[in-house]
Amino acid sequence: MSILLRSSQAKRSYPEPAILRDLYTRVLGSSSENDCKVFGITSAMDGEGKTVVVSSLAIVLANDKEVAKSDEQVGDILILDCGEGPTSATEEFMVETTPGLTQYLRGEQALEDVIKPTFLSRLWILPVGDSMHKFSILIRANALDDMMRSLRERFDLIIIDLPSALTTTDTHVLAELADQVVVVACSGVTNSKLLGKALQEFDREKLAGVVLNDSREDLPQWLAQRM
């Protein structure tokens, strides 16, 4: 438990596992391809909870026996941390951020050296790296495509923690690596116009859907039932 939660996030709460399993099933169901291995999770702006969704989904699926292949080696899950927000998946799992993706794309590190284990045996994380310097150029190189090919062979599921869709154009480039993209919207925070713009950034076929985060029922139960 203490490994999971950072001291500064001691009060963070996580969604119910059933909701996340349902999300995973729906994303798979929305894909027209049989082999949907790479999910990209983004949001319109920063601070809408996409990293929490990434972390929670990964933990639930990594711990879920139904995901594991029954007659083969237990399927591995990778979190590819490309986020630039206030919190990153790497920090959530208290893993060293370096070396990471940027070191690999610069050719300074091998792929095996930048993929880090977590407290769950089937869950791995590939941090973004030490610096976002020239990140936009690096991700447009061919090395990234090669890397994804290798990762697809090794992992059964890759969840990409994408940057916000409207704060950088890198999201559009990184989203091309994903089979399906999920946009996270935060109730009471995400502006409807910005969400509309973010949804238009992606191809309709690749866009699996929207996750409404931090939803709350403002009306009391007796009134909500009557309306």
Binding site: E16, L23, R26, L120, G196, V211, L212, L223
Partner: protein
């Protein structure tokens, strides 16, 4: 409707606090107002105007009661600065009057607004004044009654003089007719003597007598009216108005006063203003809220499906609920990790 209610319940404690503060302020304000306002009332009896007595019951003048006529007259008098200046005379307000119309008008307007009057019965009117100074209230009502009475007296004097002239002229005319008729009779008798009954001269003489008696009747009626008006005129000239009596003198009130109706009205205004403010704020916040809150909001902007709705699991660090919420929120993580362990 749902978005507005949701906006209200999101900030319900703030709105409740605003309502409580405003209502408390209203109660305090009404309480202070009720204890700082004094009211003085004077009731006046108004008799039928003399002209009405002369013109008769079926004249157009009869359509309004004397009290209604007096209130109409009073409402017009109060609109004049001269009348209000005379009302303010001898009170603490008179020191503020400088004689400059523009300056005095503001003071007189305020005084005018605080005077109220109403018809209590067909012959009774009530004059009231409300203000923070009990002595001023009594003086204003007393002066209003006095000046109204004087004005009525003057009107009565003018009216009675006009009437006297009218009836004098009538008596003169009818007297002349009477004398003329009498002269014709004398001339007829002098020429034809006393005619026998049934003759043409007899009939003519009877007609002349009829003319004389008719003129005499009219003369007597006009003379009676003239006598009546003379009595009123004499009384008026001796400052005894028969048509204006003060039933209740204006007295200095000992205790503040506010009618229950006014108290309720102010409370209702306060409640209405509070609720109105909250409603306006809720409406504005709802219209200005462009954020996504429900699945419907997402459906409105795109046909992309909503894959999951993750409820709010924020921990509330308050009092006795802390332990409960913490356990509930952490349970989700425990479920994910428990099998691993």
């Amino acid at each position: 409707m749902r978005p507005y209610l949701a906006t209200f319940f999101r900030g319900k404690w703030i709105y409740m606090l605003v309502l409580a503060v405003m209502f408390s302020g209203t109660i305090l304000g009404v309480w202070r107002l009720a204890h700082s306002q004094y009211q003085v009332t004077s009731n006046i009896w108004i008799g039928n105007p003399p002209l009405q007595n002369v013109l008769g019951q079926n004249s157009a003048y009869q359509q309004e009661t004397p009290a209604q006529q007096e209130v109409d007259m009073l409402s017009q008098l109060i609109q004049t600065d001269d009348f209000m200046t005379s009302v303010a005379k001898g009170t603490s307000l008179s020191k503020q009057l400088t004689g400059v119309p523009d300056h005095d008008r503001a003071i007189l307007t305020k005084l005018r607004q605080d005077i109220s009057y109403e018809v209590v019965g067909s012959n009774t009117i009530s004059i009231q004044f409300t203000g923070p100074n009990p002595i001023l209230c009594q003086q204003v009502v007393q002066n209003t009654v006095k000046n109204l009475g004087n004005w009525m007296l003057q009107s009565q004097l003018q009216q009675s003089s006009t009437q006297m002239q009218y009836y004098k002229r009538q008596t003169t005319i009818y007297k002349a007719q009477m004398d003329n008729a009498r002269q014709q009779i004398n001339q007829f008798v002098g020429r034809f003597g006393a005619p026998k009954e049934g003759t043409a001269q007899y009939l003519q003489l009877q007609q002349l007598w009829g003319n004389y008696e008719s003129a005499q009747g009219l003369y007597n009626t006009a003379q009676g009216n003239l006598n009546q008006v003379s009595i009123v005129d004499n009384l008026s000239r001796h400052n005894q108005s028969t048509d204006f009596r003060v039933l209740d003198q204006a007295k200095v009130p000992q205790k503040p006063y506010m009618s229950l109706k006014k108290v309720l009205m102010y409370l209702m205004m306060g409640v209405g203003a509070s609720l109105g403010l909250v409603i306006v704020v809720v409406l504005m916040l709802t219209w200005m809220d462009k954020t996504i809150r429900t699945v419907d909001d997402i459906s409105r902007i795109s046909d992309v499906p909503v894959l999951a709705v993750i409820p709010n699991l924020e921990l509330k660090e308050k009092g006795w609920r802390k332990g409960k919420r913490k356990r509930a929120a952490v349970r989700a993580v425990d479920m994910a990790v428990a099998e691993y362990k």
